[in-house]
């Protein structure tokens, strides 16, 4: 049985439909991401699951039970907020203890569990327990927020852009740690983000949201390799939208494009004629922009194998043939 089910769930704010008849199921232990640009409805979806918003239509089930009449304080979900929402008037220790105190556990048990939770997120109790949130760095606050949610041993942990306010270096490290926590604790993670790299690298499955609907749901590889709509193709990774059969668009990822000298393409390959417009050096890759004869543009990404210094390297103004394997082009459903 899925641990979370959304059945035709809708939520409106005034005239705006934030979530529009969304259905999906999350399996136990899964790292499930809701990915999309701001305003796509991903945060509202998470807040509906947490119980901070009530659906206007449809049903949300957790472990098979309808959540219709269950207030947030009885849902037993952990939540990590984008702003962390740590209690500013309480120490780190009392912040983490907050949920346990509400359950009226004995003091000794609370202290032991708090210490364990702080250890789990690698905050030494001796050093941090007495500090106030204002005395912590962004990354440390993030860990306290995580410990505060995890100490209650929830079956599901909801994370609303938890790494949004952390600098890049730390974010990469935290991504790995979150993924490892998900595996080690067996807790289902529902993760909201607008960062496609984050979603691709951490998730078991991703629901890409667009204007209140799930545009596509699948594993990171499925979504990257086979985007169903122009929106998904454009939002996740870089892509080239090329004319395809029947007037529908075909998406080819830049790293699947090959550039050859004009001539006959190999069997089973598609090709278009163009001229090199720009060669951009990116370090481990080269990006070559090709102006097509019909006025379109193709972005081809080649691994840096020293082409710049070799005679086979491309230069601005070269005539080229843009080629890709027919199997690497994805015909879109919507354009």
């Amino acid at each position: 049985m899925p641990i979370v089910e959304f059945l035709q769930v809708s939520k409106r704010f005034g005239r705006v439909t934030a979530v529009d008849a969304v259905s999906f199921a999350i399996q136990r232990g899964e790292f499930f991401s809701l990915l999309g640009p701001s305003g796509c409805g991903k945060t509202t979806t998470l807040r509906l699951l947490a119980g901070f918003e009530q659906p206007d239509a449809g049903e949300i089930r957790v472990a098979g039970a309808s959540m219709r009449d269950t207030p947030p304080y009885e849902r037993k979900l952990g939540m990590v907020f984008q702003s962390y929402a740590l209690f500013p008037h309480l120490s780190v220790e009392r912040n983490v203890a907050y949920g346990l105190e509400r359950r009226r556990l004995p003091r000794a048990a609370i202290a032991a569990q708090v210490a364990r939770a702080l250890e789990l997120v690698r905050l030494p109790t001796a050093e941090f327990a007495g500090r106030r949130p204002a005395q912590l760095s962004g990354g440390q606050r993030q860990r306290v927020a995580l410990a505060r949610a995890l100490v209650l041993e929830p079956e599901i942990l909801l994370l609303d852009e938890p790494l949004g306010a952390i600098d890049l270096q730390l974010r990469k490290a935290m991504q790995l740690e979150l993924k490892q926590l998900n595996r080690a604790l067996g807790i289902t993670f529902v993760y909201v983000t607008h960062d496609q790299d984050e979603a691709l690298s951490m998730s078991d499955r991703i629901a890409v949201m667009d204007r209140g609907r799930v545009a596509q749901l699948g594993t990171p590889a499925e979504i990257y390799e086979s985007p169903r709509t122009a929106f998904v193709a454009g939002f996740i990774g870089e892509s080239n939208l090329l004319p395809g059969p029947g007037g529908r668009g075909v998406v080819v990822r830049p790293e699947r494009i090959e550039l050859r000298t004009p001539g006959e393409p190999p069997a089973g390959w598609e090709s278009l004629a163009g001229r090199v417009d720009e060669v951009i050096y990116l370090g481990e890759r080269l990006r070559i922009l090709v102006a097509l004869a019909d006025g379109g543009r193709v972005n081809a990404t080649l691994p840096n194998q020293g082409q710049l210094t070799r005679p086979v390297g491309w230069a601005r103004g070269d005539d080229v043939m843009v080629c890709w394997r027919a199997g690497d082009g994805r015909t879109l459903e919507d354009a």
Binding site: A50, P72, Y73, A85, L86, P88, H89, Y98, R102
Partner: protein, 282 residues
């Protein structure tokens, strides 16, 4: 340059406070330890007689009553004002209108508003007429010139001073904190005592001081609504300076009140600093 501009900015205020606050204060302090003049005023000399006289049970009783009333008015303002401040802080559309309604009474003179309460409370006033008319009572209730009337007047007069600072601290409260508490299993009552109240404590303390201190020194309300029977310390001081012509005693009484105010402020500052640490409340 920087020092010059600092002094230019501070100068007028410092002069004003020095000339019209500190100097009169020192004059009152001096008067409180000087012998009383025959025709009012003071005579040269030094005496603690006025402070001793203030320790007379008669006056201590007035002081005690004043503290109780000011304290009750503060408590009533807190109980009435906190929910109002909460609603205003949480409302989106009507916030400006509600705030306007809170400060609206200030547009009329305090004296006029207190007189208006007489029309409301007296035997032939609006309340008694309505109750008599409805047949709920047979004889008019004695409302005016009672402790109740004084308390009513104090609460009415000072309620906005309680609402506004509490509103200011509730308005800054991040709604995500309440959701975090709710997600961690806190029911509404627990959320109030563990998150909302501790975080609005600075507003509660500021509001309580803004009500308690002026209520302690008020004399118009008790004069108009309490009649001669319900004297507060403010009336006592006023009488000494006017009809009784005993400036030194009036000065001593007002310094006694000021000492009380200092104690109240000191206690509330200590309470705020300790309250911030937040023992588990619920």
């Amino acid at each position: 340059m920087r020092r010059l501009s600092t002094w230019l900015l501070l100068g007028p205020g410092v002069f004003w406070l020095g000339a019209f606050f500190a100097v009169p204060m020192l004059l009152v302090l001096a008067a409180s330890v000087m012998p009383r003049g025959v025709y009012g005023g003071v005579e040269p000399g030094f005496t603690l007689e006025h402070y001793r006289r203030f320790l007379d049970p008669l006056y201590l009783h007035v002081l005690g009553r004043t503290v109780v009333w000011a304290g009750s008015a503060t408590a009533a303002c807190l109980l009435l004002g906190y929910p109002v401040a909460w609603v205003i802080a949480r409302s989106r559309r009507h916030r400006q209108l509600l705030l306007l309604l809170i400060v609206l009474p200030f547009w009329t003179s305090f004296l006029v508003r207190t007189f208006a309460m007489i029309f409301l409370l007296r035997d032939t006033g609006l309340i008694n007429s309505l109750l008599l008319g409805a047949g709920l009572i047979r004889a008019p209730l004695t409302l005016l010139y009672t402790p109740f009337a004084v308390l009513l007047g104090l609460v009415y007069g000072f309620l906005p001073f309680m609402v506004l600072p509490i509103y200011a601290s509730l308005e800054k409260l991040d709604p995500a904190l309440l959701e975090a508490a709710e997600g961690l299993g806190a029911r509404p009552v627990a959320r109030f005592f563990t998150v909302i109240l501790p975080l609005s404590l600075p507003g509660v303390i500021a509001g309580s001081l803004l009500v308690f201190v002026p209520a302690l020194g008020s004399f118009v309300t008790s004069d108009l609504l309490g009649g001669a029977k319900q004297v507060m310390i403010g009336n006592l001081v006023q009488n000494q300076f006017t009809t009784a012509r005993n400036w030194p005693f009036g000065s001593a009484a007002s310094f006694a009140v000021m000492a009380l105010v200092l104690v109240a402020v000191g206690l509330s500052i200590r309470w705020r600093d300790r309250g911030a640490d937040g023992e588990p409340a619920a």
